[in-house]
Symmetry: D2
Subunit: 466 residues, 4 copies
Amino acid sequence: MNRNEGVKIVTIGGGSSYTPELMNGFISRYDRLPVREIWLVDIEDGREKLEIVGAMAQRMWDKAGLPVKVHCTLDRREALKGADFVTTQFRVGLLYARIKDERIPFSHGMLGQETNGAGGIFKAFRTIPVILDIVKDMKELCPDAWLINFTNPSGMVTESIIRYGGWKKTMGLCNVPIGCMLNEPALIDKTLDELVFRFAGIDHFHWHRVFDLDGNEVTDQLIEAILEGKKDDGTPANIHEVKWFPEQLRAIGMIPCGYHRYYYLQSDMLADGLSEFNGKGTRAQQVKEVEDQLFELYKDPNLAEMPDLLKKRGGAHYSDVATESIAAIYTDANEHIVCSTVNNGAIPDLPSDAVVQLSTYVGAAGPAAVSFGPLPTAERGWLQCMWNMQRLVEEAAVTGDYGTALQAFALNPQIPSGAEAKKVLDEMLVAHAKYLPQFADKITELKAAGVKPSDPVVLELMEQGL
Amino acid sequence: MNRNEGVKIVTIGGGSSYTPELMNGFISRYDRLPVREIWLVDIEDGREKLEIVGAMAQRMWDKAGLPVKVHCTLDRREALKGADFVTTQFRVGLLYARIKDERIPFSHGMLGQETNGAGGIFKAFRTIPVILDIVKDMKELCPDAWLINFTNPSGMVTESIIRYGGWKKTMGLCNVPIGCMLNEPALIDKTLDELVFRFAGIDHFHWHRVFDLDGNEVTDQLIEAILEGKKDDGTPANIHEVKWFPEQLRAIGMIPCGYHRYYYLQSDMLADGLSEFNGKGTRAQQVKEVEDQLFELYKDPNLAEMPDLLKKRGGAHYSDVATESIAAIYTDANEHIVCSTVNNGAIPDLPSDAVVQLSTYVGAAGPAAVSFGPLPTAERGWLQCMWNMQRLVEEAAVTGDYGTALQAFALNPQIPSGAEAKKVLDEMLVAHAKYLPQFADKITELKAAGVKPSDPVVLELMEQGL
Amino acid sequence: MNRNEGVKIVTIGGGSSYTPELMNGFISRYDRLPVREIWLVDIEDGREKLEIVGAMAQRMWDKAGLPVKVHCTLDRREALKGADFVTTQFRVGLLYARIKDERIPFSHGMLGQETNGAGGIFKAFRTIPVILDIVKDMKELCPDAWLINFTNPSGMVTESIIRYGGWKKTMGLCNVPIGCMLNEPALIDKTLDELVFRFAGIDHFHWHRVFDLDGNEVTDQLIEAILEGKKDDGTPANIHEVKWFPEQLRAIGMIPCGYHRYYYLQSDMLADGLSEFNGKGTRAQQVKEVEDQLFELYKDPNLAEMPDLLKKRGGAHYSDVATESIAAIYTDANEHIVCSTVNNGAIPDLPSDAVVQLSTYVGAAGPAAVSFGPLPTAERGWLQCMWNMQRLVEEAAVTGDYGTALQAFALNPQIPSGAEAKKVLDEMLVAHAKYLPQFADKITELKAAGVKPSDPVVLELMEQGL
Amino acid sequence: MNRNEGVKIVTIGGGSSYTPELMNGFISRYDRLPVREIWLVDIEDGREKLEIVGAMAQRMWDKAGLPVKVHCTLDRREALKGADFVTTQFRVGLLYARIKDERIPFSHGMLGQETNGAGGIFKAFRTIPVILDIVKDMKELCPDAWLINFTNPSGMVTESIIRYGGWKKTMGLCNVPIGCMLNEPALIDKTLDELVFRFAGIDHFHWHRVFDLDGNEVTDQLIEAILEGKKDDGTPANIHEVKWFPEQLRAIGMIPCGYHRYYYLQSDMLADGLSEFNGKGTRAQQVKEVEDQLFELYKDPNLAEMPDLLKKRGGAHYSDVATESIAAIYTDANEHIVCSTVNNGAIPDLPSDAVVQLSTYVGAAGPAAVSFGPLPTAERGWLQCMWNMQRLVEEAAVTGDYGTALQAFALNPQIPSGAEAKKVLDEMLVAHAKYLPQFADKITELKAAGVKPSDPVVLELMEQGL
């Protein structure tokens, strides 16, 4: 990194509605992180959005009075040349794909959860081949750059970058931990800097323990405060707040993340999801509406600030964590950031080469994982189940092996295995055919056998070629 | 063991309908295993059955012309004095309890599987305190005896004997592996002694690989033969033969046990179970009928042979494995027997002190576990999930902690977690109150809150004090 | 901790010649760490030194113009009441004991190395019972305090505090890593804040890797610079600089600590040590002289600054690391400090509950161990050997079991096992009898058999009752 | 294997003086193991011996009246075609090499132990490239054969076969365990079939525990009997019977193998060895004499029985174990045999893919390793040290990397590290140059620097081109 010239940032999926938040993050950290230029990269299908959001981004920098040039391009290789940091926030198949990810499982009475459920599995199938392609380019064009991934499922994608791509200088981000850290202190009348957090698990499936400044654990106090439920405990906006079982939370002795409701309270989360599916539309459909509104706002040539509406988008703080991570690497700040990185023993219940999500101190050498030690019995069982599921998904994403995909579906606790689940798998393969070249043979076979989603919304998207 | 005097066998739960099969096993091995006396022990509620089956057992020995005395007693301590081998086949709460174990979950749309499902969890809750009591007596009355457990859930019970009871000279048996070994060779035109089997997993949740006499693996051939489905592959009679997904079986590369259908094909097994629940009655109800018929047969003073009907009972070969194990220990035969014993590293994916079920060579020092090595990804995930679930059940059984019981329910892949599952847990606690002293406080609380099973069959049993 | 009142520090072994350095550390950190009072605790035998050094310490605070009161006491319990931080720097048997630790092995042609060799083993035998006594007092008198141990062998002592004492709020310090970090950067024309260090191992037996601010590893460059040997590489003053084998250092791929010479270059270190033993006296004897001079200086009522001579003492930077650690805990600074703490998986080649020495980020919840991942083959073997040796020493120290002590001696790579080594063990037991109550029976037996050290210096010390 | 035609055996190193014992083993097992033909393979340098011993072998079969043809050949590939079992007993460089292996270290005051000491390391360097060549031939010429290795260092060679050769159907044999099992029972007035043995460790570095027929451990009784020392405890003839320290043996709680004296009683074993070195010659020199006498005997055309002298050779029972293993595989006998095979978790203190030596049950699928569970502290440390040392040797043998060889030397507990040890390493490289093509560059460099052994016996051998 040439520290005299300022930093070159490349953002893959730059046409995303998140980009203004990302700009905001860089602008507010400019004193620590002297950005020189930002390259927003997208694909042909996203050209229009890229132009809108690129112009908006440039306006933001200009308003801040900072000499940063925002480049918009469809030429990824051009952008990557000499990059210092590459961030990834792309969504293969756009929100249309997520709509399919959610609706097909629901149409068979199952959850299509987009992080580690059936939806997340297919997001991984679509994303992993693309990210490996990006890594290939980076090896050639910017071999010293850091790859800051916040494309979901962030854990699986980051593990694939390291394991299959062989790229070490990376970290995977997620906004769930920062949500917990921002909201929980108030529950016990503390501020964030009066508490020490220790997270461990995998992406969207982690627990944490909390200590006060005297080094004493206050996790139990927090659990009681969460059970009392007086204030916001940081559960992401997109998760229905089904109430935890107090006896279970106390037995855990750690604070689960909001997404654990899909595992500890599965039938209730399913009921909630089905009611949306049958009513106002699934989460993706809701997000799509917000996103359309956002782009309308971004078009306004007078708008040079991140609009409030973006906070409703669901991914709040993602960009904050991303830009903070980059600043921490750049300034060797050894800052506490929760991210996906190589286990190296930190969670001894998983293999050393697993990618896990946990407390790290991020500095110039990247994230230093804080060793957490063995988990309690139940959480060990959950985590071992989920991480092996994650591995199966990655393997299926890379090999296109249908049996492995079936195994991932069967092991996934959100999916009740059996003939119905296999139908979901098959319909999803067909629905996403365009983005799943690795499964091409199997999809051909399925189509020949007449497999086709039955959900009308999905069918309509397919007919539109989306 | 005084080898000059012959062996003293004590069978706890001696009034079981299985006892004649057990006698058969001992009679046919008498040349290797010189039994001196057999003590059948039961409790007051089982006195009548004990007398019937005890008389039948004596007739069997007499007919065989062997000088073995069968003692029937309700005094367990009297029986245990100086025992060489203690076998356990008791069922706390009799088949009535299993009827509740199955019907309550079904009445909420869930499986109540008696091995490792909700039913098995409650069987463990009822059984573990009793077996620990037996161990306490044994320490005092027959400290050198072997405890051969075939009370289900055999894995959890055996692990509790070792971990909480501190009793090392034990092994846990199950009839599933022997079923596989007896039926599978024919599928590829072999005999049992032309194949080498290697099992690994936990009780009712294991896989196996198979080799021929040239040392080459033939597992794949067997998988194809099973998928062709021409002949009986050893799946226990009580499991509906929902068809495996060929792609999944091939991806596994090992042969799962029949019970894996509850995990790989969950929704289909549930549908089957619900249809029985709503129709001819659950498995326990069917077995109850067979058992009643068996006792009618046993009453016949002319009957001195195991009736064919017993084979329909579902536990075929249990006694065969049990008596063979005892003979192998007695004669230091180093025989290949699949049983539950301490892992000691044989399955490196689980802790060394876990109790697992796998291939062992049984001799005078007990079962020598054959190290299996690491499992493939998916099976590692499944096994780690299930064994930790097993540990939670044992811990809840010993401590009576409700939160731990909830955790076991949540982690159990057969049970969709949430409010409905909690209802099942609560109703089962209430329904089995009589046999769950460790949960007494919680049950009092639940009863006060009006928790009560809704299934009429269960309610009727409860009204009858069963 | 009541942050309004200032911090109460208690130093066990307060009469040590190191105390002025410690005071210096506190004085220079007073803006971050508002000390209220310091209690220097010692035993009757150290009363005179305590008074000298205590007066000197008070003069230092006074000269700095800071309102801190230094208390000198022989009443440990009085001192511990309400302590916030307890530091330990005591030496059971004083330097006389170390003289025996070194001379007895040398008199049999072996190394008596005071960290992890025969000397260190006996230092552990003398120290561990005392530290466990201190922990007992702390549980009663200052249950929330942090115990900052820098009594050697720091790793064994810290592990005993945690494992046998059950005290979690502790960390073990050592000045070797800070020595490396201060000296190595210049070897490659960098400054300390331009490099990121990652240490792993156990106390006085660790390796490290180094990265630059671009996140690229520069360990190999450092190795070459060390092999060129142009500048000081941070090897402690007390270690003779026998040259590393270049091929070995390159094969390691990590930088060993200076003490590794006792393992990688054993015969040469022995030759050096024997030449001192036969010449100017062993290291302890040299240190003793420096120490006597130091106390002469401290007596000067005009001296209110740490004298330069102290830097020659061999333990330079110990107090720096100690006071920096306390400040980092107090201010939740998340500072990179290398210390002994619970492994928790950070080095997957050792058990999770092992105490290891490695890079941590120290904040209010204590040291957060950075997971290092698996070591290369040779270093794994060395570390596993040494940590198990450490465990044996601790166990023998606690139980007084002679067989375990023999096992520790045999496994220790510095000690050639056999009859001669057993003689060393026996003579050392006899020579240190006064401080080894746990071995009393064995020592009585040895004395009865006429076991007695043959080294005249040791004999003289014994005759003087030292 | 075509079981109708009889078995084809190939013995690499067929010209060895052991061959008659091997023939004896096959002859006495002919009823179980119908041998068809035996191919004795050797190299040009061994032609004369091969012819002598081949003729002797044929006479033995003829005398036994069995229709087995013994083929002698220098064409290894011809011999391997269609082999069912390949046994390896070759010695690269003959006993001359072992003389160098022992004398060079002794000439520098160190042990040159031929199993796992400096001698063993160089035997591995010479042997591993050759065995990997044999494996390459076998893949082509007899891909279904079993490779029964009893070339030392048997553990390292077997691990290399599996790890670097990728050949699974193998087992490594050693005569030490059988020696223990044959001699120990009498120490406690038992016979072999009244005891159950459980071995664990690595080749020539293992411990065992023993149980009686009641399943109770009798290890402690055996330890006391060994300490009393009334009878032969099975220590191999070539190990000087330095007495164990009773307290250490009791602390171990397991029975070490005779070779553990080199680790537990190092200085005494060294003294013994040096006295032989300076007196009647090292073990290799003694063996050489016996061997010369043996070949004189074998030349006698009337001799058709194994001569008694062979038993003095030191490798007694090797061939017994080898032929018994082959018979156990052929008949699927599940016999208890201690051998080197893949760990697979059996010793959880070592990686799953390590090759270890332990109790197995040998049948058609090869050795089934009995899981032993975690070792006690000291033995865990020893074993982890030694196995990692083993791995370094293998790696250096395959790569020819000098730094790795130095690391192996340093970690080896028999070798005091330092400049002197490096001299030993260097002289041995030069002395064995002919058989170490992988180290050619380094050896050239050493020769250029004038490195040359100083021991006159070694020098003479080198001058003779041996």
